[in-house]
């Protein structure tokens, strides 16, 4: 939801704190679950992720989540899906060039990042998204990656 999305950017520091404290636990849990149940819970977990992140960030399930590196503002809401924004078309009032009723997601991203502990992460380059990941869960991807904490 647009309103919630704006709130999330305003509370980027708070959300970052939550993310950092619960994420490792969630990933461990998911890792255990995927070991026991294989792929049978994938659908459910993906739907849960889509619902939660959809509500909070208007997440588009690109499959390669950058929220922690983009000030809690989802770049896939940018009409040009820029991963290293903003573009040069931002309006003087900070609204999007293409959608005048929407705050530029990258103006929001730099703003959100300015309040985050690890906000400088926005200065690193994100290469264009892998389109094969669309609709897939980032959580499951991370859970299945090697070298997770506790291993």
């Amino acid at each position: 939801m647009y309103r919630v999305r704006l709130w999330a950017v305003k509370r980027s520091r708070f959300l970052e704190g939550i993310y950092n404290s619960v994420n490792p636990a969630i990933l461990l849990l998911l890792r255990g679950a995927t070991k026991v149940f294989g792929k049978s819970l994938d659908r459910l977990i993906t739907v849960m992720e889509a619902q939660l992140k959809g509500f909070l960030f208007d997440c588009k399930m690109c499959g390669d989540c950058t929220l922690s590196k983009s000030g809690m503002s989802c770049p896939m809401n940018c009409p040009k899906t820029i991963r290293n924004g903003p573009c040069g078309g931002v309006r003087n009032n900070g609204m999007c060039e293409v959608k005048p009723d929407m705050r530029c997601v990258w103006v929001a991203a730099w703003d959100g990042a300015s309040r985050m502990k690890n906000g400088a992460a926005i200065e690193t380059i994100e290469f264009a998204v892998d389109h094969r990941g669309k609709g897939k869960s980032t959580w499951l991807k991370l859970a299945r990656e090697k070298g997770l904490a506790g291993e």
Binding site: P79, N84, G85, G89, E97
Partner: protein, 329 residues
């Protein structure tokens, strides 16, 4: 070079000097420490190559590089690649514009090889305007890459001699790589960091959006100098020629990313000859911009006012007594 009997050289390339990435003249001018001037050519709505050359000749002796826009504003015109091929063959130093709006990474890597094969030595990497801004709003926007990913892609091709996929290239495209910046629109306080990202991705020269606001530019350039960015790339600042107060107002309302302060609009409104005033404003801007530390050149964007580019550059005196090379001289 191969020993084929076919003619393969569409354009003559310069020898690559030490410390240079390309075989083009534009890079040589900048690296020699000259204050450079570039302009842009509006690709014709025509399949006639003479149309392109006619437009280019107007700039002879005043510019070091000519940008060929790539469907700018989402409007169809002759492709940037074709314009650059025609210009290159005639001896000009074109800068091909790559917009991510219309092509995906497969097409763009192919075009990079094609452009270099045709003798194009410079590329400007842009994300591009949205399709909704143009005359085909019903088109599918691509945006597979963004400008920074595109810079990285071309650098991989040039410096590692491979495609993104890892597949090897026999001959890498020796392109001098550029990007755009717009320091005049939000988030003003982060535009220098974004410039740093573009440089980190591979930008070696920068052409900015129109500058009509010197205060903002000065603050931005001071940051860029502080961050050491002007040591790492050549920054050319964009200037524009406004024909009337009405056009100025229309542009700032309708062209994405154009910031024109009220003072400029008022000056045009109050002028007896607004067209001449618009050119005078441009000349003043160029002179003042040249004084700012870290600026390496000027990029003149004079859409539909191309015939004035030469006299504006001359009047400004920014070239001092240097005369840029042109094929007709």
């Amino acid at each position: 070079m191969s020993s084929t009997k076919h003619k393969t050289d569409p354009a003559e390339m310069l020898p690559r000097l030490p410390g240079h990435v390309s075989q083009g003249r534009f890079e040589q001018v900048l690296r020699a420490g000259h204050f450079a001037v570039t302009t842009e050519i509006a690709p014709p709505d025509s399949a006639d190559p003479a149309e392109v050359l006619k437009r280019a000749t107007m700039f002879d002796g005043y510019v070091d590089g000519i940008n060929a826009t790539d469907g700018s504003g989402g409007h169809c015109h002759m492709s940037s690649l074709a314009v650059c091929a025609i210009l290159t063959k005639a001896g000009y130093s074109p800068i091909i514009q790559f917009s991510c709006r219309d092509r995906n990474r497969i097409a763009m890597q192919g075009d990079a090889l094609g452009a270099a094969a045709l003798g194009v030595a410079n590329v400007l990497c842009l994300t591009g305007d949205d399709v909704s801004a143009g005359d085909h709003p019903e088109a599918k926007p691509v945006f597979d890459l963004d400008s920074i990913s595109l810079l990285q892609t071309l650098r991989v091709m040039r410096d590692e001699s491979r495609f993104l996929s890892g597949r090897k290239l026999d001959t890498p495209p020796l392109l001098f790589m550029g990007a755009s910046i717009n320091p005049f629109v939000p988030p003003l306080e982060n535009r220098a960091e974004q410039l740093a990202k573009k440089i980190a991705a591979g930008a070696e020269f920068i052409q900015s959006q129109y500058c009509f606001d010197l205060d903002i530019l000065k603050r931005f350039m001071a940051r860029a100098v502080d961050m050491g960015l002007t040591e790492k790339c050549f920054i050319l600042i964009g200037v524009g020629v406004l024909p009337s107060a009405r056009t100025a107002k229309w542009m700032r309302a309708n062209v994405p990313g154009v910031h024109i302060p009220d003072a400029i609009v008022k000056r045009l409104q109050g002028a007896a000859k607004p067209q001449a005033e618009g050119r005078a404003i441009c000349v003043e801007m160029m002179q003042k911009i040249k004084e700012i530390q870290g600026v390496s050149g000027i990029h003149v964007m004079a859409y539909r006012q191309e015939k004035w580019v030469g006299s504006i550059v001359k009047k400004s005196g920014i070239l001092a007594d240097r005369k840029p090379w042109a094929p007709t001289q």
